[in-house]
Symmetry: C2
Subunit: 226 residues, 2 copies
């Protein structure tokens, strides 16, 4: 039980709830360690738990009727998925799979909805979370409609540099096949995008990428300022 409460205290949406509410949430939660490549749930299924990613990475994938797949997002900790489906008790629009070993918290969906209904503070935190997730998707739709694959890759690398804080040197968080899918392109087009970025100071060696001129890359890729 105390493991769960400690984990909840580390999750921004729960961190500031009072002890009583934390105990109630932990009472409907479980912790799990999941090997890489594990399917957590499938598109079309009804959510039974809210998943919270505490460590590792999880891919969210959409499948077309003809079976082709699109990676909508690759989540990093701490993130909740998929809040919108859990809150509305609606079938998942995406499947989830672990990319590497992951540590997860699972919170029972129906019980969570009841807690939210009776706790305005928790409801407001959930509203803020699902709103932020909506805004992430708005950014992605704009990215897909406004930028070329090379510009999308440039924005992705600039965001990584911001996260990893080693100046212009970053390590790709997952393999290039998954990166291509996340950026809405093919592995062949991703290679061409990396080639295009060479003229803007980007050198790639395996999983390591060095950006020698961040200002030049910003000018080319045009990352969002908000």
């Amino acid at each position: 039980m105390s493991d769960l409460i400690a984990a909840l205290r580390g999750i921004p949406v729960f961190a500031e709830l009072d002890d009583g509410m934390l105990a109630r949430v932990s009472g409907i939660g479980t912790l799990a360690r999941v090997p890489p490549g594990t399917r957590l749930f499938g598109q079309g299924e009804r959510p039974t738990s809210l998943h919270i990613l505490l460590a590792g990475q999880v891919s969210l994938t959409g499948v077309a009727p003809d079976g082709t797949k699109a990676v909508v997002e690759v989540l990093k900790p701490v993130d909740m998925f998929i809040l919108a489906a859990v809150l509305t008790d609606a079938p998942y629009l995406m499947s989830a799979e672990t990319v590497d070993e992951a540590r997860l918290m699972l919170i029972a969906a129906e019980e969570l909805r009841l807690l939210i209904e009776h706790d305005p503070k928790l409801a407001m935190r959930m509203l803020a979370s699902v709103s932020m997730q909506f805004r992430m998707l708005v950014r992605q739709v704009k990215d897909l409609k406004l930028r070329s694959a090379a510009q999308r890759l440039g924005c992705f690398l600039l965001a990584l540099a911001g996260d990893q804080k080693h100046g212009g040197r970053v390590i790709l968080p997952y393999d290039k096949r998954l990166l291509a899918a996340r950026l809405g392109t093919t592995p062949e087009h991703l290679s061409r995008a990396f080639a295009t970025l060479r003229a803007h100071g980007v050198e790639v060696r395996g999983m390591e990428v060095e950006m020698t001129d961040l200002a030049k890359l910003v000018a080319f890729a045009g990352p969002d300022s908000i």
Copy 2:
């Protein structure tokens, strides 16, 4: 005042609230009639009102740093925009403009947030709305990553046929320049997409589109089943 309450009763998210809450919401609302092509707010601005579209159409547009624009969505009534920005008091990620003459309700943002904080029922309805809006964007990201422009156009026409209920005959709701932008393509590529769809039973004459073989178009475009 009674005009406002009548309008609120027609908006699903407010329809079932009790009279006291409806009176409080109408107390912070105003009705407006807005001519075509009116800019309602701009990307980067702080929301002062929640906008509710009661009649007409509104485009939501994202702007890249270099000034290029992408139409993220064209709203039809009844829809609220932009809930995520209003709820989190965060700068708009998109600009809004009327496409044709529109009837709008504006609800003061700060006062609405206070009402939601103190009314769990209203909070739950807002949670459901922003969750549904999140799911619309998930569908759009999948659409952009999984389908060709011709398939996206096919899915758009099939959805229209479902809305307009005249079998395979539909009227485009807005001009082809806006339609191209909404589908994340150019007017030239949209013409090519219409030409591609001819082989799948789609004939276009101005704003009128006739689908002579819906099953064939479904097989080609692969619309979502959920």
